[in-house]
């Protein structure tokens, strides 16, 4: 396949997300402007100007009208997707990291990092249809995890919130009461900080990636470990194909090891694994730096990866991808 290279960001990529219909791709990076691209040919549509810090993640509403972003400048902003105007700014006392709309976009979960004595927290905010009615008050705030929460998403039917972070423990919270329902087992769980979390299309299972060079597949309701995928590199990003039983892991070496290993150009790869038998299907090389973000198009026919090198690589699969026999 011939990947489409998009160099819209000068700094490393942090997050990639497709809209529900799969025609727009949103990219967030450490430069302060999230960008939206057309997902078929990679043409840039626009950028959202307004943040003053690295943008760590974003989420897009189902009708692709609203975008929410979380940034290190201690704010999370709501944007109008089409025009790029800011609709509302949520202010926090510490950098915002992960943002996720609930199904129906009436609520959103925004995590904040531990900062200056404040512990990390998950803020649940109500989102109104009309931006004029929007207020900044939280419905409730969840606290408890030690260390940074890298990703918090809504569980099936908005009943729960699933969070994963630096303390390598996955937590499931009740979204009505804010109580902690479950924590992942010490033995099953990751041994090092979890960097990423991605759920399946139906939300019944999700995959977490960690710096311990593995990714694990979990059941969303019972929080049981289903599968483990082992690689040679710390995992920074994970994604599941909506079409086939494939799982993709992206990562890279630790920064400390960079000068001591041979970083031959274009050798960082996104590794494909069979979801069920945990075996490696192959790798797609090309990035010049560790891969920090991965996303599958909802139609399953293409995927994109964002790296430390600031490039977004958009791959449309060849015919033989769909007939891979494991």
């Amino acid at each position: 396949m011939r990947p489409i290279l998009m160099k819209g960001h000068e700094r490393p990529l942090t997050f990639l997300k497709y809209n529900r219909e799969g025609d727009l791709l949103f990219s967030c990076a450490k430069d302060h402007n999230p960008t939206v691209w057309f997902a078929d040919n990679g043409e840039r549509l626009g950028t959202y100007r307004g943040h003053n810090g690295a943008v760590w993640s974003c989420d897009i509403s189902r009708d692709s009208s609203r975008l929410i972003t979380g940034s290190a400048d201690q704010t999370s902003k709501l944007w109008d997707v089409q025009t790029g105007t800011q609709l509302y700014t949520f202010n926090f006392d510490s950098p915002a990291r992960s943002v996720d709309f609930a199904v129906g976009e009436k609520l959103s979960a925004i995590t904040t990092d531990p900062f200056m004595g404040l512990p990390s927290a998950i803020h649940v905010k109500r989102i109104t249809r009309d931006p004029d009615d929007q207020t900044g008050e939280s419905v409730y705030i969840l606290k408890g995890p030690q260390g940074r929460i890298n990703r918090a998403i809504w569980g099936p039917l908005n009943k729960t919130i699933i969070s994963a972070g630096e303390d390598a423990v996955i937590r499931i919270w009740d979204s009505e009461t804010g109580k902690l329902l479950k924590e992942s087992d010490k033995e099953d769980g990751h041994k090092k900080p979890m960097t990423s979390l991605s759920k399946s299309t139906d939300g019944s299972h999700f995959i977490t990636g960690s710096l311990d060079k593995s990714a694990k597949l979990w059941d969303s309701r019972a929080l049981t470990l289903i599968k483990t995928y082992v690689t040679e590199r710390p995992v920074n990003a994970v994604a599941m194909s909506p079409l086939l039983d494939h799982v993709v892991l992206g990562g890279g070496q630790d920064a400390s090891a960079v000068t001591t290993t041979d970083h031959r150009a274009g050798k960082f790869e996104a590794k494909f694994y069979g979801k069920i038998f945990q075996e490696e299907i192959g790798g797609v090389k090309g990035h010049f730096g560790p891969i920090n973000a991965l996303a599958f198009n909802p139609d399953g026919k293409s995927f994109s990866s964002g790296g430390e090198d600031g490039y977004v690589r958009l791959h449309h699969f060849d015919h033989d991808y769909f007939s891979i026999k494991i």
Binding site: P3, I4, R44, E232, V284
Partner: protein, 275 residues
């Protein structure tokens, strides 16, 4: 998404013009011909025109049309296609090179077949055995290990095995590449990553001896550039071109250390003696 290559216009010489019928000049130029996209997606457009000097000129434009993706878009998505640009994209012109199609063809590389490791250990024994054969060409394909049949590049079983630099999986690949890179580029390698560190009992000097391959019976005219060309598929090597001596059977000494073939993991210091 379309790669264009224009062939230079071919000037028709007057001699050819005579042959070709001078009538062509009187009629209109031949019409533009389009050879539509064939199964490789190549479209050729042949046009004729008169250039400044009044010569008839044929211009062939070869284009490869690649369809990278077909999007069956919903109604809303089609509307979004016509949204106007905003933010930093407002001043973008069509020629901006923000979005480019990669010139390299990237494939989903399947992992190598298991069994490769054992085969490599075996082949070390074979060259030793063939040492005695006079004039035997040592043509070992690194992929299927059939001697004397084909070179690695011509191996019909290309898919099975991996390139030798990454052939041994454990210790982890980063360490392997570290040693080969460090030695080949002459760059700094920290003590933890040097070849000698983890492998017990090996220091820098012995490493030189261990990785040496001695190739004899080369032609007298052999020079370093030839050797570089010959051994390029095997990676980055250091050569020592020795003195001319007496002819002898081509020998390939392979040093095996601790039962493992280490020449594939670190750089090879090649001492070449022309004899």
């Amino acid at each position: 998404m379309a790669v264009e290559a224009a062939a230079p216009p071919s000037k028709l010489r007057w001699g050819e013009l005579e042959e070709d019928d001078a009538e062509d000049l009187d009629f209109l130029l031949p019409p533009k011909q389009v050879f539509g996209p064939d199964e490789n997606g190549i479209k050729r457009v042949v046009e004729y025109k008169f250039n400044d000097e009044g010569n008839k000129v044929k211009i062939t434009t070869t284009t490869r049309i690649r369809k990278l993706a077909s999007a069956r878009l919903s109604k809303r998505a089609v509307e979004r296609r016509s949204w106007s640009k905003f933010g930093d994209a407002v001043n973008e012109d069509v020629g901006s090179r923000l979005t480019m199609v990669s010139t390299e063809e990237i494939i989903l590389e399947r992992p190598r077949a298991p069994g490769t490791k054992q085969e490599e250990v075996k082949v070390a024994g074979d060259p030793l055995a063939s040492m005695g054969k006079a004039g035997a060409a040592i043509m070992v394909c690194r992929k299927c290990f059939k001697k004397g049949e084909h070179w690695t590049a011509m191996c019909p079983y290309k898919d099975l095995a991996a390139p030798t630099e990454t052939s041994i999986d454990k210790p982890p690949s980063s360490e392997n590449t570290a040693t080969s890179a460090g030695a080949t580029k002459g760059s700094y390698i920290p003590p933890s990553m040097r070849a000698g560190a983890e492998r017990t009992g090996t220091d820098m000097r012995r490493r030189h001896e261990e990785n040496s391959v001695r190739v004899t019976n080369l032609s007298e005219d052999t020079r370093e550039p030839d050797l570089h060309d010959l051994f390029r598929p095997f990676g980055s090597l250091r050569f020592y071109l020795g003195d001319v001596g007496n002819g002898a059977a081509l020998k390939l000494d392979v040093n095996m250390i601790m039962g493992r073939l280490r020449i594939f993991t670190t750089s090879i210091n090649l001492f070449v003696v022309v004899s």
